[in-house]
């Protein structure tokens, strides 16, 4: 075996090194210095992120490479999406420092970070896998530890309930996914993406449709697309806020990209016959139902759960676009979504840590007691709703532009539905703004100063929300990378 193949997995190895160092620190450092673990992990993760970003500038590292007999692949696009996830991970870590140093976490701090890093590693495998065996290892690696993390607040009943729900859906969706895989294997005789792609070219049986339906619903659970979304709200509400923010951005972003890879590189040949229409229906349902349910939520975490369901629908527009522009727009959307959602979760987490309140009604008049928090929340909401000059506007505009490139009238209708849904979403995002800025009731949240980590996290996400759209180089880079990558060669209608 050629061990130099492992060099292709630079980012995975970086994560593994971080994992090992955290493990060693957790195991061997004396009790007195355990409080330094969160900061230690954050700095290591920052280093890994910097390493990954540096790698994307170096042409030899970012060249498309295959390893392990084609089971694993990396390229500039894949490095870029991993960097995006890394950046999100850093912000999540920074925001969770205070929570991780809390009373309840003393014994379990190490476990939290170790599990978190393992899931990230699993997501990397999902993104890079070109063989379904590797993919399934990645998928389970990414979902099962999350169940333990959801249950981390062991003194809270909701946390347990959420963990059980998450566990059951994760296992169930894996099972469905593998059922689909077995059909695919029966049709094509291989689990290599490239071989299945070729084998499906002459395949028009009903079994293919069934197989696709199983595969799509398996990943759909992970992405919480409607109608596979029922676990989302309860899990988001029950999980500790740091875990919720991780679930809603990193986990979703990775799954969305992996979904795109599977649909284009495995089933690309049957785009217009089979899965375009499945995805079409899923997008319409996801965006609309996510939005309509979000309107009624009063708990901020449930509220953002439904908002993130509908955001996943917008991300899917990048897949249905089925072109290089769509890949770039999707990655940009994920990046912007990470920043905007983490800004919102940063505020929610800060308020929850300080006062324990998570209801929208408690936020009334927040502007008078905590103007900066209210302002951050407002910008996050505007960005999620797609209001210029914040980054969300640009990501929405670009994903619509990508979806409409060379589009059929049906896609125009889809985009119109999505656009009308942005108005519904604007309504409920404005409800939060209204509660904070306009409602005249006495604020139940007193003036408080959030911890240093929370503030840094919010500043970073706020800077992203303000600048990501206006600074054009990131999106331009993503377009050029996507257009030159081998993913672009799969888009044949």
């Amino acid at each position: 075996m050629d061990y130099s193949q492992f060099l292709a997995m630079k980012q995975e190895i970086a994560i593994l090194i971080v994992f090992l160092l955290v493990f060693i620190y957790d195991t061997f450092m004396p009790r007195s210095s355990q409080k330094g673990l969160p900061v230690f992990t954050t700095i290591l993760m920052l280093a890994a992120t910097a390493f990954g970003i540096a790698g994307s500038f170096c042409s030899c590292c970012s060249a498309a490479t295959e390893a392990f007999a084609g089971m694993y692949e990396t390229s500039a696009v894949i490095i870029a999406i991993k960097n995006i996830l890394n950046i999100g991970m850093v912000i999540v870590l920074i925001q969770s420092i205070k929570w991780a140093n809390g009373e309840l976490m003393i014994m379990r701090r190490g476990e939290f970070y170790e599990l978190l890093l393992v899931t990230l590693f699993g997501m990397y495998l999902m993104i890079s896998a070109r063989h379904f065996l590797v993919f399934v290892i990645g998928l389970d690696c990414a979902s099962l530890p999350l169940a333990a993390m959801v249950a981390f607040d062991k003194n809270r009943y909701e946390s347990h309930e959420a963990a059980v729900k998450y566990m059951l859906t994760a296992v169930f969706s894996s099972a469905i996914f593998m059922m689909g895989l077995s059909f695919v294997y029966a049709l094509s005789g291989s689990l290599y993406f490239s071989k299945i792609y070729v084998a499906l070219a002459s395949e028009h049986s009903t079994m293919l449709i069934v197989a696709l339906a199983f595969v799509i619903s398996g990943v759909g659970f992970k992405l919480s697309l409607v109608p596979f979304h029922l676990w989302t709200a309860d899990v988001y509400q029950g999980a500790p806020t740091s875990v919720t923010s991780y679930l809603s951005v990193i986990s979703k972003g990775a799954a969305a990209f992996a979904f795109m890879v599977i649909l284009s590189q495995v089933f690309g040949i049957c785009y217009s016959q089979v899965w375009e229409w499945m995805l079409y229906a899923l997008i319409v349902l996801t965006i609309t139902i996510g939005n309509l349910f979000a309107i009624r939520q009063r708990n901020m975490k449930r509220f953002l759960a439904f908002s993130s369901i509908s955001q996943a629908g917008y991300i899917m527009l990048g897949i249905i676009a089925y072109n290089a522009l769509g890949v770039a727009a999707m990655m940009f959307y994920i990046l912007v979504y990470i920043f905007s959602n983490l800004a919102a979760f940063g505020v929610i987490g800060a308020i929850e840590n300080a006062t324990g309140k998570v209801s929208m009604d408690d936020y009334r008049g927040l502007y008078r007691t905590n103007p900066r928090l209210a302002f951050t929340m407002m910008l996050a909401m505007f960005s999620l709703a797609g209001i210029p000059p914040f980054a969300g506007f640009f990501s929405k505009f670009f994903i619509f532009t990508a979806a409409l490139q060379g589009a059929s009238p049906a896609i125009y209708v889809l985009v119109l539905i999505a656009l009308i849904n942005t108005i519904i979403s604007l309504y409920y995002y404005l409800l939060v703004v209204k509660a904070m800025f306009i409602s005249e009731e006495q604020c139940v949240i007193p003036t408080f100063r959030s911890s240093c980590g929370e503030r840094i996290g919010m500043w970073i996400s706020l800077a992203g929300v303000m600048l990501l759209g206006l600074v054009s180089c990131i999106y331009s880079y993503l377009i050029i990378t996507a257009a030159n990558s081998n993913i672009a060669t799969f888009f044949i209608r």
């Binding site: 532009t401 119109l416 309504y427 306009i438 377009i479």
Partner: protein
Amino acid sequence: MFSNILIYFVVIPLLMLGALFLCRNIKQIRAVAVVGSIGLIALSVYLLVQYLALRAAGATAPMLFCDSWTWFEPLNIHLAVGVDGISIAMILLSSIIVFAGSFASWTIAQPKEFFLWLILLSTGVFGFFISIDLFTMFMFYEVALIPMYLLIGVWGSGNKNYSAMKLTLMLMGGSAFLMLGLIGIYYHSAPEGSQLTWNLLEIVNNNAIPHGWQQFLFPMTFVGFGVLGAMFPFHTWSPDGHASAPTAVSMLHAGVLMKLGGYGCFRVAIYTMPQAAHELSWIFLILTGISVVYGAFCACVKTDLKYINAYSSVSHCGLVLFAILMLNTTAMTGAIMQMLSHGLMTALFFALIGMIYGRTHTREITKMGGLMQIMPYLSVCYVIAGMASLGLPGLSGFVAEMSIFVGSFQAGMADFLGGNGSLRLVFTLVACCSIVITAVYILRVVGKLLFGPVQDDHHRSLTDATWWERLSTVTLILCVAAIGCFPNFFSDLIKFTFSPDIFAVLGMN
């Protein structure tokens, strides 16, 4: 980048925003607002002079001061700027109203936040008028819309939560259609095989949008902008929104923001898709014709001053869209004049209503009366605004409505005699009725509010206008009179836009 004069129309408001962040007390905030808005007026006058000088020297390009800086290169998005006579007229209007609006909100509560949002709104407005790149234009358009929510929600009065939400959602709903239309235009902006573009001038030159697509994209863009232009049946945000908004916001919104709608309809929808405009104009003629008459009738029965004025805005802005759809030089000139005239006089109206409301604490005309005896200055201003609104010669309304109806009548007669149906003619006659109805509701208000007996004895002790109020109103009245007395100057300014190629495409007169 900073060698182009136009970019300063965005830079100055941005500097004002930065300065407002640093302000510590109300005096500094006022200073920033006044200095900034005077700077904007000076800049727009300077731009006007430069523009006229260039034209006099024989510049024949459709847009002057054009410049373009690459933004998102792979999508060919630029920050492209350029102006013609119409944009300059709109920029002048905006800077005057921002100036007057700053004085009208001299004593507002929470001034720092208020001016921050107000200036953000005007950044969007100026950015919209100077852009000729569809993406940038759309971005500035939405920047101008969203501050309204907080401005009405926080500083408004009455049923403000409902109105703010309704206004924001309806306008954003319009921009949803608009976004689809604009992306559609982009993908058909150039002939097969050449580089797609967002630049308006290039799109017009290419004239490549296929006929079938025009039929779909024209309604999208026209409705998108038409919502902001208060086109029936999408006008319902206007009365509620304007009635709840604080004074300066009503001024800016009715005076400038609604013009974004009319300007966009002309500049984007009709400019880029003239064939579809020609074929589909009948649908929108009917809708805007209804706005004109319906708005005027509604104004006749309302008793709240702001509602009356808001409905009168629906009627007048309907007239703008109506005239644009006539696709004829005279009517279009009239439409631009009407935008200027309506912008100024409605801002004047809202300023006066705000001042009266600030004193009497009511806007019901049944509860007030005889204000002429109590506050003669404000009452005289009100009469002048009313006269401008009902089209008294010598004030701006007359010139505008005159050219609109003459132009519409020409277009209608041409259609009728050419055997193309009598729709335009009929709707011109219908719209003409609005002149009479306007006179009815203006005179009704003037009669009840200003003359007659004093309804409430508490009102006798009220004071007349303060110096900042006088400054605000005098500025606006002078402008209204200037348009009325020197209409040729303005029609010459905007004439050049209508002569070139786009009308040749249609063989229009």
